[in-house]
């Protein structure tokens, strides 16, 4: 197999020997673990604890490689984070690939290695997988689906319907980094900045948070696509409350602000892949933020607002000048504008 100049062909998804070769050359070494080595159509693993969570997430990002990450790293961290937002401990992942005919094998290997590394760094193995190849023109390079399972420790009950008036809203760090990193290399938009994607697995931060404020966290969400505005609006609707956010408390990198100015974007709508929003009882907010500061992914954690009564379930922002406006969420994608 020519991993330097070779291309994915339809036969690599046909179930024959070519596919076996692809798995052996690229995926098995990249993901290697005892469960995958079982070599069966399914992975067999023991589970302890009574309550489990399961989630799935498909990744179709363009471009596939961007500052700070790639589609593979994103696919691993994204699913780990969906599990972690339930307060759960992620255990095992699956990975499904839909590859377009003609996709360079070298890029596929790069993506697989990046996934393998992300899974190892997080301590969450990819235990089973699947590969299909579609004709040229019927895909966009590669699409990756990951699913994951995890267990929820005793006593943890997180849900978006729990926030109540007076609860504190905490954000784990700067917003918009991932959105800007991806935009900077999107065709037609190209600009240069030092901003890199924040893609990271949040389960260790969550573990530290749950330990620091047992029973006090109402819910956790990661503000991915749709950004902070989408997550806060979803939670306000689910909890049937309003929210009041202080604009100046929300950490944003100056470069992210600048990119927003250039393109006419709103940082509240930009995607994040390594941040979380926590809503907790007010008396636990300080303890929780301090605990987060000790975790590498929570260094800039801050209370950004509070849950308030509002029969219309609106999220409002107090601006730096003291006015109050609505923080709306987007109906579709944010588009660059010149006017």
């Amino acid at each position: 197999m020519d991993l330097i100049n070779g291309k994915v062909e339809l036969m690599h998804g046909s179930g024959g020997r070519a596919m076996g070769e692809l798995l052996k050359e690229i995926f098995f070494p990249a993901f290697d673990n005892e469960y995958l080595r079982q070599g069966n159509d399914q992975a067999l693993f023991p589970v302890s604890g009574r309550r489990m969570v399961m989630t799935t997430d498909s990744h179709v990002i363009s471009p596939l490689f961007f500052p700070g990450g790639d589609i593979g790293k994103l696919a691993v961290n994204g699913t780990i984070n969906d599990i972690a937002m339930g307060g759960a401990v992620p255990l095992y992942l699956s990975a499904g690939f839909i590859i377009e005919e003609g996709f360079p094998l070298a890029d596929l290997q790069k993506i697989a290695l990046s996934m393998g590394k992300a899974a190892k760094d997080a301590g969450v193995p990819i235990v089973t997988g699947d590969t299909k190849v579609v004709e040229k023109g019927k895909g966009d390079g590669v699409f990756i689906n990951t699913a994951g399972v995890g267990t929820v420790p005793e006593g943890i009950e997180l849900s978006g319907n729990k926030p109540r008036k007076g609860d504190a809203i905490i954000l784990s760090g700067t917003i918009g980094d991932h959105g800007v990193a991806v935009l900077s290399c999107r065709e037609g938009m190209e600009f240069t900045t030092n901003v890199v994607s924040d893609t990271a697995p949040l389960h260790r931060l969550v573990r530290a948070m749950v330990a620091a404020a047992p029973g006090k966290i109402k819910c956790l969400r990661d503000p991915t696509r749709g950004g902070l505005s989408a997550v806060l609006n979803e939670l306000a609707t689910q909890a049937k409350t309003g929210m009041l956010i202080k604009e100046k408390s929300v950490p944003i990198l100056p470069e992210v602000k600048a990119a927003c100015d250039f393109l006419g974007f709103d940082a509240f709508n930009l995607a994040n892949e390594g941040k979380l929003v926590a809503i907790c009882a007010p008396e636990a907010a300080d303890t929780l933020v301090k605990a987060m500061h000790h975790s590498p992914l929570g260094r800039q954690a801050a209370v950004i607002g509070e849950v308030v009564d509002d029969e219309n379930h609106l999220v409002r922002v107090e601006t730096v000048s003291g006015g109050v406006r609505v923080m709306d969420w987007l109906y579709g994608d944010q588009l660059p504008r010149i006017c």
Partner: protein
Amino acid sequence: MCLAVPAKIVSLGNDDKALVDLGGVQKEISVKLLDNVTEGDYVLVHAGFALSKMDETEAEETLELFVDLQL
């Protein structure tokens, strides 16, 4: 109506192209529509073109007009 942002000219290239910096974001733009642009100038960029030079002294003066009157 017309989104224009202030940016600093980092370097001038061929064909009236220039690299500008806005708070750590760098982008290639055109200076075809603006006279006497030099490196270090602050310009207003609209839809990929520098259209006006910024004057820092004027900016300060506009602010100062109101400083005296602050409560």
